[in-house]
């Protein structure tokens, strides 16, 4: 996934209004007018939010007379969780290994010359 598309996706979901819109669209397609209805802001403002979501690839829009129904696209959501999960798992895997080291040091209490707490700080 392109670097800046991931940035656009995270930027898009950084706004509570846009997250509300995504939540609404997860239940089914909706027009800008329907999406704007619950918010205390102009239709133009919601239209701008939809543009941000569309440019992030999170929604697509079709035509239907004057209406422009919006549809949630799940592919980019997948790529977002993939990114977040990758580094979360790397970190948690490291924590588990650290715990294992500490446990083995607990078993064998003779060696105390290393400090596993800072294994990541030390220079290569």
């Amino acid at each position: 996934m392109a670097e800046d598309q991931l940035s656009r996706a995270f930027t898009a979901l950084a706004d509570p209004t846009r997250r509300d819109i995504v939540a609404r669209l997860s239940l089914g397609d909706a027009t800008p007018g329907q999406l704007a209805e619950p918010f205390a802001m102009s239709l133009q403002a919601v239209s701008k939010h939809l543009k941000v979501l569309e440019e992030a690839g999170l929604i697509s829009r079709s035509r239907e007379a004057q209406r422009r129904p919006c549809h949630l696209e799940t592919a980019v959501l997948d790529e977002m969780t993939a990114w977040v999960d990758r580094y979360r798992r790397t970190a948690e895997e490291r924590f588990r290994r650290l715990d294992a080291v500490l446990a083995s040091m607990d078993e064998d209490e003779s060696t105390e010359d290393e400090d596993p707490q800072h294994e990541g700080v030390a220079s290569p």
Copy 2:
């Protein structure tokens, strides 16, 4: 999770520099100086990025003489994937149900008075 904390978390990961920092920290704790080294920007700029990450709850910082080693916290990453996954799954579940409807209509080709494409657009 508080609404604005989720906003802070997505905002934090919306910046490529901050995502790089998170990726680096997933491999192990590091000081601001170590984190700034690969970037073509001032240490002060990186320090600002770290503040954003800290306020989002994505990292924590300890003390160690003049050094302030940074540590990746995975809890907020968990909440981010939880949010994204919730709506992705809701949408995909709906798509699967829609496919099932279309398949059953394919079997029984006599009823054509309903248009499942717009099930979400209609008013409640």
